[in-house]
């Protein structure tokens, strides 16, 4: 494929840039002086052993935690200190490592919540079923079905999210995040718990997202998936970056091998 937005040696301005991010939990540095750039249209993987600080890094990027130090610049704007919902509205969406769907709501309702900040109807208009609110409602339903179709979940639209098999719950998390219409999507171990077939489906969906112009950051332990789809890989260990480069460079990096061997011996 010939996508112009594919990173080609720094010609593009970074969509997202983290600068010296640090976060400590009671003396333990979960993320230490982490800086990186993500270019528009790329797929960047973040890997590292358990407890390396990957999820914490996501929490810093999405405003769930405030960093002790450092800043996050998204589309030229410093977003540290903004509330999570404001960051989502700017165009950063995420999924959760431990699934956090709204289990008692239907599949389509889950996705419709993702469209929340694209719609306006407040308490009064909703209670009185104002025409504008009804139009929004119809639009949300249509749009959600379209997004469910991308994730291959349209047949499940009216089932409770909590009743889906595990793999489909993961996909629904992606669909729901997609509904916020992000510029950049942060996936936290989306393939964990998926079987081989579901994992390759997920890979297809991520490709399709990139074609739709969504930039993707992927935290993942499934090395097959990471090496197959990412343009760039960043390796964290004990909260610090130990390597960064193309999948091929990373595969041969002795520090990476050591970090992974070290963790496997545990």
């Amino acid at each position: 494929m010939s996508r112009e937005s594919r990173p080609d040696g720094g010609a593009n301005v970074a969509l997202l840039e983290a600068m010296s991010l640090t976060k400590t939990f009671g003396g333990l540095a979960a993320v230490k002086d982490v800086s990186f750039k993500v270019e528009s249209g790329s797929i960047k993987a973040i890997i590292g052993p358990n407890g390396a600080g990957k999820t914490t890094l996501y929490d810093l990027l999405t405003g769930i935690y405030l960093p002790d130090e450092g800043s996050v610049v998204f589309q030229g704007r410093d977003i540290v200190g903004l509330a999570t919902h404001e960051i989502t509205a700017l165009g950063i969406a995420r999924t959760f490592q431990t699934i956090r769907l709204f289990p008692e709501m239907t599949v389509i309702e889950n996705v419709m919540v993702g469209l929340h900040h694209h719609t306006r109807a407040g308490f009064v208009k909703s209670a009185f079923r104002a025409p504008s609110a009804m139009r929004e409602e119809a639009w949300m339903r249509e749009e959600s079905l379209r997004i469910l179709d991308i994730a291959g979940l349209e047949m499940q639209a009216d089932n409770l999210a909590g009743s889906l098999p595990f793999g489909q719950q993961r996909l629904l998390e992606v669909a729901r995040a997609l509904a916020t219409k992000p510029r950049i999507l942060l996936l936290d171990e989306p393939a964990s718990g998926l079987n081989a077939y579901e994992t390759s489906e997920l890979g297809e969906i991520i490709y399709r997202l990139r074609d739709m112009g969504v930039t993707v950051i992927l935290v993942e332990h499934d090395m097959g998936l990471v090496m197959r789809i990412s343009h760039e890989v960043l390796v964290l260990d004990y909260g610090e970056i130990i390597a960064e480069g193309t999948p091929d460079e990373i595969k041969g990096d002795p520090r990476v091998i050591e970090a992974y061997l070290g963790s496997e011996l545990d």
């Binding site: 999405t62 769930i64 509330a83 999570t84 919902h85 989502t88 509205a89 969406a93 995420r94 959760f96 956090r100 769907l101 709204f102 289990p103 008692e104 709501m105 309702e109 419709m112 919540v113 993702g114 929340h116 900040h117 719609t119 109807a121 407040g122 308490f123 909703s126 209670a127 009185f128 079923r129 609110a133 929004e136 409602e137 949300m140 729901r176 995040a177 509904a179 916020t180």
Partner: protein
């Protein structure tokens, strides 16, 4: 073309029929309320249960309960303070109509406003979660009660306020008002008028609330109930949304309280203790969390119960004496109802009954059956 137009009309007609069909339970209930005064007098004569009289109160409590259900059932924020907003609404309307001479409907409108305002004022408690929030709102209810009792210069404390102007339609006086089915002029036209007035308000509140919970706003409430972090990450301003629901819930509590004061004509602080908060909470739980129409069922059960107990001595000559002093053991009854519902019918009466009718499934849960380990 004519045929096309006919087709359109037919489509609109069938859509209207579909609307009626979808809301048939509501329709049936509406008719039930509409014709209640026709048979209520006879029922009163035979079994000593004054339906119209009691149903006015059921209406009042329904409003308070539906407000709490939005907050607790849908948004998942447990509050033991609904009685406080009820009390503030009652005193606002009572003082304004009694002492300042405001028309009753203005008094009630301001009762809504003052309760909502108080809701905004205390909204920071929403930063607390779960049991802590329940405790803080319980504290709120106690504080409001103490203030109502001790600010004697305004509220006249335990003496209460009596002679509160009675609930009627704006700009009309009750005298000379005739309802076609009241043959006996000695009957109580005021009672019937109040009954209809209250139920018009109740239906309006219930319809608006059920629209609300099925909208974007309702979904965001249910979402933040199930995962605050995920709701935030989906772009929902969780803390703002919680405050708005809390204030709406307070406003509905205030509305109920305002109507109550003008209905009873007399109020004192002991009507608005934490027992009131707990009884509204009981209504929500037995009616069913996340159920707008459950509020009616819950309010009906809790309101009819004491009246039925009161009526028992009139049915059977030798009823035991202790039975008559309902307020003495009211707390035990609430507690029992709460515990039994939570164990045997955790989704409430309304959901239980609709499951029974629609799915032919028993509404009871067997608490002794072992659940699959998750």
């Amino acid at each position: 073309m004519a045929g096309e137009k006919g087709g359109k009309e037919a489509a609109a007609g069938s859509r209207f029929l579909a609307l009626l069909k979808r809301n048939r339970a509501l329709l049936i209930f509406f008719l039930f309320i509409l014709v209640m005064p026709l048979w209520a007098e006879n029922v009163y004569k035979t079994i000593s249960l004054d339906f119209v009289f009691i149903m006015r109160l059921v209406g009042v409590y329904t409003i308070a309960a539906v407000g709490l259900n939005l907050l607790m059932g849908y948004a998942g924020q447990v509050s033991l303070g609904q009685g406080a907003f009820f009390g503030i609404g009652a005193y606002t309307s009572a003082l304004l109509t009694l002492k300042a001479g405001f028309p009753v409907w203005v008094g009630i409108a301001l009762a809504i406003a003052v309760s909502a305002l108080f809701g905004i004022l205390v909204a920071p408690v929403l930063r607390l979660k779960g049991h802590y929030l329940a405790m803080a709102t319980l504290g709120l209810a106690i504080i409001v009660f103490v203030f109502l009792r001790e600010m004697t210069w305004l509220t006249e404390g335990n003496f209460g306020l009596s002679g509160i102007p009675s609930l009627n339609l704006p700009f009309t006086s009750i005298t000379g008002f005739d309802l076609p089915f009241i043959k006996d002029k000695a009957q109580r036209p005021e009672l019937y008028l109040q009954f209809y007035l209250i139920w018009i308000i109740v239906f309006a509140a219930l319809i608006l609330c059920s629209n609300l919970v099925r909208s974007r706003v309702g979904r965001s409430m249910r979402a933040l109930h199930q995962s605050e972090v995920a709701a935030e990450a989906m772009g929902v301003n969780v803390s703002a949304q919680k405050i708005k629901v809390f204030v709406l819930s307070a406003a509905l509590g205030g509305l109920a309280g305002g109507i109550y004061a003008n209905l009873q004509g007399y109020i004192d602080p002991n009507m608005f203790t934490i027992t009131l908060s707990i009884s509204v909470l009981t209504m929500v739980v037995i009616g069913g969390m996340e159920s707008i129409w459950g509020a009616v069922a819950g309010a009906a059960v809790i309101t009819f119960l004491p009246k039925m107990v009161e009526a028992i001595p009139k049915w059977v000559g030798d009823a035991p004496k202790w039975l008559e002093r309902y307020s003495n053991y009211e707390g035990i009854v609430f507690g029992l109802i709460l515990v039994l519902t939570m164990i045997f019918m955790p989704s409430g009466i309304t959901k239980g009954l609709s499951d029974l009718v629609r799915l032919r499934r028993s509404p009871f849960v067997n608490p002794f059956r072992r659940k699959a380990v998750e």
